[in-house]
C-alpha cells in the first residue's frame, strides 16, 4: 500500500454523490431558507397565541384576493414545470412561452401584493400599529409576507435571466439542468406561500 496509490485513487461514489452538484447546492440553500421561514412562522404562531386581542384574519385581510394570489403561484409552478419539460425535449419555443407565462404569473402576484399592502396601510394596519387589535398582527404580517415577496421578486429576476439565456442561446437542451435548479427555487417560493396563506390568512 504505497502512498501514491492512495493519492491517485478515484473517489468512490457514495450515497452522497449527487447527480448534479448544482442541484444539491440549491437544495442546501433552500434547506437554510426553509429554516428562516419556519422560524418566522413558528414565532408568529407563538406570539399570536400569546396575544389577547388578535383580530380574526379573515375580517381584516382580503381572503378572495389572496386566494387568487395562491392560484396565480400554483399556475406559475405548473408553467415552470412545463417550461422545463419543453427545454428537456429541446423544444425552445415551448420553453420560452411557458417561461414568459411563469414570469408574468410572478409579476402579477407582486402587483396584487402591492395593492394588498397599500389597501391595508390605508385601513390602519401598519408595521407598528393596528386599528383592529394587537400591533404584533401588522408587525408579523408585513415581515412574513414581505420576506416572501422579496423571494418572489428575486425569483422573477432569476427566471428573467433564464429566459434571456434561452433567447440568446446560452441555455439549451444541453444545460437544461440550470432551468431545473431555477425551478426548484420557484416551487419552493410557491410552497412557502401555501403555508403563509394557510397560517396567516386562514387560520
Amino acid at each position: 500500500m504505497s502512498e501514491a496509490a492512495t493519492l491517485h485513487r478515484e473517489p468512490a461514489e457514495t450515497p452522497l454523490t449527487p447527480e448534479s452538484w448544482g442541484k444539491l447546492g440549491m437544495w442546501i440553500f433552500l434547506c437554510g431558507d426553509a429554516m428562516t421561514f419556519g422560524t418566522l412562522i413558528v414565532t408568529f404562531g407563538i406570539m399570536r397565541i400569546a396575544a389577547a386581542d388578535w383580530p380574526v384574519p379573515a375580517e381584516v385581510l382580503g381572503i378572495n384576493l389572496t386566494a387568487f394570489m395562491t392560484f396565480l403561484l400554483i399556475c406559475s409552478s405548473v408553467t415552470m414545470v412545463l417550461a422545463l419539460s419543453g427545454i428537456k425535449r429541446g423544444n425552445m419555443q415551448e420553453f420560452r412561452k411557458f417561461m414568459l407565462l411563469t414570469i408574468l404569473g410572478g409579476a402579477f402576484f407582486l402587483a396584487c401584493q402591492a395593492y394588498e399592502w397599500t389597501h391595508l396601510i390605508h385601513q390602519g394596519v401598519t408595521i407598528s400599529a393596528n386599528k383592529f387589535g394587537s400591533p404584533v398582527f401588522g408587525d408579523t404580517f408585513y415581515i412574513m409576507t414581505g420576506f416572501h415577496g422579496m423571494h418572489v421578486f428575486g425569483g422573477v429576476v432569476y427566471l428573467i435571466v433564464m429566459l434571456v439565456g434561452g433567447l440568446t442561446g446560452r441555455i439549451t437542451q444541453a444545460n437544461a439542468s440550470v432551468v431545473e435548479i431555477a425551478g426548484l427555487y420557484w416551487h419552493f417560493v410557491d410552497l412557502v406561500w401555501i403555508l403563509i396563506f394557510t397560517f396567516v390568512y386562514l387560520l
Partner: protein, 95 residues
C-alpha cells in the same frame, strides 16, 4: 406494476395537470373550511393537514423529490423536523 413502469422510464414526467387540479381543489376546500360552523380547533387541524398535503404535493411532484436520492429527502425534511423542535421548545413560553 405502475411503480415498475415508472422506474423503467427514468424521465417519465408526473401528471402535472393532475397535481395542479389537486392543489386547486385543496385550496378551495381550505378557503371553504374556515366558514364552516365547527369548533375552531377542528378548523385549525383541518387547515394544518391540508396545507401539509399541498406543500408535500409541490415538493414531491414539482420539485421532483419523487425521483431524488435519499440524501435530498433528508435535506428537505430537516427544516420540518427543526420547526417541530422549535414549537416544542417555545410552548413553555406560553404558560
Amino acid at each position: 406494476m405502475a411503480d415498475t413502469a415508472a422506474h423503467n422510464e427514468a424521465h417519465a414526467e408526473p401528471n402535472y395537470l393532475a397535481v395542479f387540479g389537486w392543489l386547486f381543489v385543496l385550496t378551495v376546500v381550505e378557503v371553504g373550511i374556515i366558514y364552516l360552523p365547527i369548533p375552531q380547533l377542528m378548523i385549525a387541524a383541518g387547515l394544518v393537514l391540508l396545507a401539509s398535503v399541498k406543500a408535500a404535493l409541490v415538493a414531491i411532484y414539482f420539485m421532483h423529490l419523487k425521483f431524488e436520492k435519499v440524501v435530498i429527502w433528508w435535506i428537505a425534511i430537516i427544516p420540518a423536523i427543526l420547526c417541530v423542535f422549535l414549537i416544542l421548545m417555545l410552548i413553555p413560553e406560553l404558560a
